[in-house]
Amino acid sequence: MNESDSLAVLRNSTLFHGLTAEELEKVARAAKPFTIEPGAQLFRQEDPAARIYMLGSGQVKLVQNTPDGQQVLLRLVGPGEALGIVATLEGSVYPATAQAAAPGSGCSWDGKTLHRLMEAHPRIALNAIPFLVSRVHELQDRFRELATERVERRVARLLLRLVSQVGRRVPDGVQIGMALTRQDLAEMTGTTLYTVSRILSQWEELGLVKTGRKKVLIRAPHRLVAIAEELPPARS
């Protein structure tokens, strides 16, 4: 990644949306480019939050380890999205580990530099607000799901969330366009591998989904939505 690659990353991000070409160049000059291989980490949970990262390509998992040793997949981050922004601005530690799920690249800034850029260009700080608000909403939704909803419904909702992010129409249904293991699904819904496997096998028998090596195909979109939203069955 060179400076013009960095510029392309910035132009497509929400954080730097609305900046002039000149301002973007200034931000790009202050950035440090990176590339990352699958499995490698951008930062680890509990490390001092020194830099914010912006992904230009690839996919990164944000994974949190609980005190009792369970891993929880918090979020998937894709191109144009930033990682570590809250912790870095706050000057605390990273709340989760960022691990690459695919080969990726992007650029990063240290906390002081980002702070300085935000002061010079308030647009950046304003752009960060909707991002933070949507994060809060996401957490509220997940909290409600975890506190009140049946596991089956949680898995269905997760699949729909993934469809809205990375869904792809294929001849026999809607494919989730990323590598996804049953373990990933278990971590993202806060349940066990056993439970997820049981639910998916059941759905597979009913013809709702088809799972292959790290792949999930939704064969009966309506029925999955019906489970997620607790809709009455389609009238017949």
Binding site: V163, G167, V174, P221, H222, L224, V225, E229
Partner: protein
């Protein structure tokens, strides 16, 4: 009337609702109200949702087209 300016059975639900937002009323009236705002609407065609909901596809098409033609005539 140019046929391309009317909904077709191959159009996805989202395409139709984005292009002719007023058809939301039609979807509701003919029993496809759940399709409005559904994330799968970007992937499922009118033909597919008609089959799922056991509504005659030609009826769905006709209702949507007449709503669009009425709106265009206003």
């Amino acid at each position: 009337m140019n046929i391309e300016t009317l909904p077709s059975l191959d159009d996805t639900v989202s395409t139709v609702l984005q292009r002719w937002p007023f058809t939301a009323d039609v979807f509701r009236r003919i029993g496809l109200g759940d399709c409005i705002g559904c994330v799968m609407g970007s992937y499922e065609s009118l033909a597919e949702v008609s089959a799922t909901y056991n509504v005659d596809a030609q009826f769905v098409l006709q209702e949507l087209r007449s709503a669009v033609m009425q709106e265009n005539a206003r």
